[in-house]
Amino acid sequence: MSGLHFDDTAEHAHLHGTWVEKLDPRAKLVSALSLAAWIGALPQRHAGLLGLVGTGLVVVAALQEIPPRTLIVRASAALPFVLVPAVVHLLVGSFDVATTATLAGRAFVAAMTVTLLVSVTQFSAILNAASSLGMPDLLVQTTALVYRYLFLLRERASATAASAQARGYGVHTPHRFAVAGSMLGSLLLHGLDRADRVQSAMLARGYTGRFPMTRPLKMTATDWLVGACVTLSCAGSLFWLR
């Protein structure tokens, strides 16, 4: 499978072909998943190690010419999804401050891991790797199409919003929320219409339910070494820290 995404050039303008970028995406995906699992399973009394891992990720990113600020800002996007429920738990007394802070730290470092992965690997290659590692086709295809068309949908939403504003839609519009609901419905209908046309285009080009592998993957000794080192290091350190 080769996935889909919205704008390789914009998202991967920094790709220069460094050794991390050249690694087989399966090695990178397995390493990232291992690290994410390690972050989740790290005993709370050793939560300070999250800072060390985060620093390591920033260093790796810097070596790939990815500005640390970019990594940190993008990873921060994950925080609200964790902080909101964590703070609720804190307020009702089921979490203490340390647990809440650790949870936020785990989410942030895990998000940094994912951000780094997608910064040094084309999204299509990640999906390609996921598929070859056994991720179900349906899930791979759904992810690919959502990723690709989320951005077209966003463009459409912007156009709809601009059109509405040009005709005076704003905070003083009567029944503002009802109008917004109608626009959202229209947007979804357009999305369905587009999905139908895309499927027609895919069928016309011989699509039979599975994306073809257009970029063959090849694991080299370095790929095996990196994947094994990261995975075994994560597993070994967890065993040692338990």
Binding site: F123, Y207, T214
Partner: protein, 238 residues
């Protein structure tokens, strides 16, 4: 690259969309000889898109449309789609893979060709449309004309015998339009071009049919049809 062996035969083609009171196609009979370049013109709602949908098995008819003698039915639809390629009007619908090269590879890879053959077809198709230098770009970074040429390449790489294009020059500036015309003029396949762009038809097609209200109302050599201004105006084409 492609053979040009497929003659297309439509025999009293009728289609009515569900919920409609009138036929979208009301008995269209048409034979398109192999290698011909047919312009399909008509006002909005004339039935052009419905007819296109019948040419590669997006819709089925009774009696079936035939391509090179093979009826377009559910049993043959996969084989038919390898012979008849459709380039949609919206390139955003046609181009759904991450890079140009992967999009052009999608068709031949689905057909099960070995990787080396897929790569050869991708190179050849991109060369045919003058887009070899775009192989590693994403469609979001392409101009309108480039997108359209790449969309054509996505079908050429399947080594189709018939190329069906829906409004290939819509929303293009003069330069983009010219580049598409140049590509189409250089192709050996049977062409069916549904369009409102009469200049495109004059530049590319050697025969024109006019559809109006689901009926074929005129059929003839390009110059004869396009020079009949009264007829064009009567059917909302000009």
């Amino acid at each position: 690259m492609a053979s040009v062996a497929a003659e297309i035969v439509l025999d009293h083609l009728v289609h009515r969309w569900r919920g409609r009171d009138e036929d979208a196609l009301a008995g269209v009979s048409l034979t398109i000889p192999a290698g011909q370049r047919l312009g399909l013109v008509g006002p909005n709602g004339a039935g052009k898109s419905t007819l296109i949908a019948h040419l590669n098995g997006a819709l089925f008819a009774t009696p079936p449309v035939r391509v090179g003698g093979t009826p377009i039915d559910r049993a043959n639809v996969v084989a038919i789609r390898r012979r008849v390629g459709v380039v949609q009007q919206e390139t955003d619908d046609q181009l759904f893979m991450p890079t140009v090269a992967e999009d052009v590879a999608f068709g031949p890879a689905n057909a099960g060709h070995p990787h080396a053959e897929v790569e050869r077809r991708v190179r050849e198709a991109l060369r045919q449309v003058g887009a070899s230098d775009l192989a590693h770009r994403t469609h979001a970074t392409l101009s309108g004309g480039e997108r359209r040429r790449v969309a054509i390449a996505t079908v050429l790489s399947m080594d189709v015998e018939v190329l069906v294009l829906d409004e290939p020059t819509s929303n293009l500036d003069a330069r983009g339009r010219r580049s598409v015309v140049d590509v189409l003029r250089g192709l050996a396949q049977t062409l069916v071009v549904a369009t409102h762009d009469l200049d495109l038809v004059r530049a590319v097609c050697d025969r024109v049919v006019i559809l109006d209200g689901g009926r074929l109302v005129a059929d003839g050599p390009t110059a004869a049809i396009l020079d009949d201004r009264d007829q064009l105006e009567r059917h909302g084409v000009a």
